[in-house]
């Protein structure tokens, strides 16, 4: 079986540009959530979000394009021209649609995902036509699954996953209408959590066959061993209460990885901070694991970066495996009863070689990845 390895990555989050900024920010336990000033938030249930500093809103290029533009020029020779491209997003350049509607000029077609795919392709310099992958907040996790599958099946030996989503008035007002925002900023897995905070971010991850990576003398961040995608088939906006849908995705991921649950050392959870999501995840984990595992959510620090969340969290999980450290759950004050013994406001050392990363989203979608440290397989 072909081993799928991650060889290079970069990201931009509310903590700033680069993995180091995000990693050290999260490790410090400091949240990067701030009060939004790019649009009026007084009518909404919260004014908190995770925004990337220095982006220009509705003044030309879209927010996600500005983020991608900061990332790809520094990629240099990391991204081979023959990489297959998967672009994950939920709303992409929807701020261009906002501009067109509010100004009464411009074309709403400019916000189409096909346009963003063309721009991303030009920025990263790959020859492949590329494919947009969109499935609510599991978009980039699903893109990693598709990319890893293509390599494992021998269809190609190099895949670039790009992901992005932004904090716009469009998205913010929508989550507010769903009563999904925490007025005080998200505090996932906390007993008193009240909702999520929207966040923005972008990133890329290069996957390769183990053979090619070694042939090209690439450094290896870790391996993508297994993946699982499922649907609750239950409700458009709410997860199934018992976590059965996510549990099915995890079981599939473990089976494809050839990994037993006992090998999973820790979990990078979706952990949005909504009462239902976090509870659903904790129940799903209890149905899979024979004992409690350390778990964390980054969304109290970065906000919920939607379509980019899975990619950012995969990169962070690889870093956790490399550094031997389970990240703290930022903004955690008093753990939910079900989360006691699993979440911590402090980082925790680990010797784990294998980890699980999970995401879920609108429409009842669930995703799970089994990730491991270099050399484990």
């Amino acid at each position: 079986m072909i081993t799928v390895v991650a060889t290079a990555c970069d990201l931009i989050t509310p903590y700033g540009i680069g993995l180091d900024a995000c990693w050290s920010g999260l490790r410090s336990g400091e949240s990067a959530l701030s009060k939004v000033n790019r649009f009026e938030t007084a009518p909404f249930h919260s004014s908190w979000a995770g925004v990337v500093p220095g982006l220009m809103y509705r003044q030309g290029a879209s927010l996600v394009f500005q983020m991608l533009e900061k990332l790809f020029p520094t990629a240099g020779n990391d991204i081979p021209a023959d990489a297959r491209l998967f672009l994950a997003t939920t709303t992409g350049e929807v701020d261009l649609l906002e501009q067109a509607v509010l100004s009464g000029s411009g074309s709403v077609q400019e916000s189409g995902l096909d346009r963003l795919l063309k721009k991303t392709r030009a920025l990263c310099g790959v020859q492949d036509g590329g494919m947009v992958v969109s499935s609510a907040c599991i978009s980039s996790t699903a893109a990693i699954a598709l990319g890893a599958a293509a390599i494992r099946d021998g269809e190609c030996d190099c895949v670039l996953i790009a992901a992005c989503d932004a904090v716009t008035e469009f998205v913010f007002s929508g989550f507010s209408s769903l009563m999904a925002l925490d007025p005080d900023g998200a505090h996932p897995f906390d007993a008193n959590r009240k909702g999520l905070s929207v966040g923005e971010g972008a990133g890329w991850l290069l996957l390769m066959s183990d053979d090619r990576a070694r042939r090209e003398n690439r450094s290896i961040l870790g391996t993508v061993d297994g993946w699982g995608l499922s649907n609750d088939a239950n409700h458009m906006t709410g997860p199934s209460r018992d976590g059965a849908g996510l549990a099915r995705a995890i079981r599939t991921a473990l089976r494809l990885a050839g990994t037993g649950e006992k090998e999973i050392g820790f979990i990078c959870a979706h952990g949005t901070g909504t009462p239902y999501n976090d509870n659903m995840e904790l129940l799903a984990f209890r149905s899979i694991f024979s004992s409690l595992r350390p778990l964390f959510s980054v969304k109290g620090g970065t906000g919920h970066t939607m379509g980019a969340a899975g990619l950012i969290e995969t990169i962070l999980t690889f870093r956790c495996l490399q550094e031997g450290c389970v990240l703290p759950t930022v903004n955690l004050r008093q753990p939910d009863e079900l989360a006691v013994g699993q979440v911590s406001a402090e980082s925790v050392p680990t010797s784990a070689r294998v980890a699980l990363s999970t995401n879920a989203g609108f429409g009842g979608v669930n995703a799970a990845l089994v990730l491991s440290a270099e050399g484990r397989s």
Partner: protein, 221 residues
């Protein structure tokens, strides 16, 4: 072998099923909105079907047609290990516009959750998954050339790897929509290679449906 088990389709003039060789002209019918309610298309009523946006109604109709064509029973509470992969030229652009214009017209203070939930290109697939109890992977995929052929290959891979048992492939277009059921079967109506060949490139939806009908007839004969 993994192959096409059933196909439902819909165009501006009619709707039908390829294995069962049936087609019903709209002239005898009313509107798409009424189709699901009065024509027995759905085994049980879809909640809020009349309020769905047209794309979601279309997806629900071709899902029902395709599942029935493949001989898959639908009943309230019944769950299937079936996933959904869909593509369309514009994704949810019209829904995005509907939501944001409504929000702006309302003074940018209140927005409607029931419009917001359709501002994802995967939302119509999600409605179908909820109603028909489809528990497999669910993704909207978009290629520059709007082709559905790569979706067929993706679906076959998911089944082969054991990620799910069957997949529904949706190709939505301005002229026609179709939904294919792909799975392990001894009674295919079309091979994967043939389906990929028909769905390659932007293509004409009506022509694709016509070609798939011819292939299915050949399989039966």
């Amino acid at each position: 072998m993994i192959a096409v088990q059933g196909i439902g389709w819909l165009d501006a003039a009619a709707y039908g099923q390829i294995r069962r060789r049936v087609s019903f002209p709209y002239a005898e019918r009313m509107t798409l909105r009424e189709l699901g309610k009065s024509e027995g298309l759905f085994a049980y009523p879809i909640k809020n079907y009349g309020r769905f946006e047209p794309v979601t109604q279309r997806i629900c109709c071709i899902t029902a047609l395709a599942l029935q064509d493949a001989g898959i029973d639908c009943a309230e509470g019944l769950r299937h290990e079936i996933g959904l992969l869909g593509t369309s030229p514009d994704g949810c652009l019209q829904s995005n516009l509907n939501y944001f214009k409504d929000y702006v017209d309302g003074g940018r203070t209140l927005s409607r959750a029931n419009l917001f939930i359709y501002t994802l290109p995967s939302s119509p697939l999600a409605e179908a998954a909820v109603h028909f109890g489809l528990q497999g992977p669910q993704l909207y995929l978009r290629l520059l050339d709007e082709s559905a052929a790569p979706l067929i290959r993706q679906a076959a891979g998911m089944i082969r790897r054991g990620e799910t048992e069957r997949m529904l492939i949706y190709r939505l277009g301005a002229d026609a929509d179709l939904c294919m059921v792909i799975g392990n079967t001894t009674q295919p109506i079309c091979s994967l290679e043939q389906a990929v060949a028909v769905c390659k490139g932007t293509g004409d939806g009506l022509q694709q449906i016509s070609e798939l009908k011819k292939i299915a007839e050949h399989y039966e004969n």
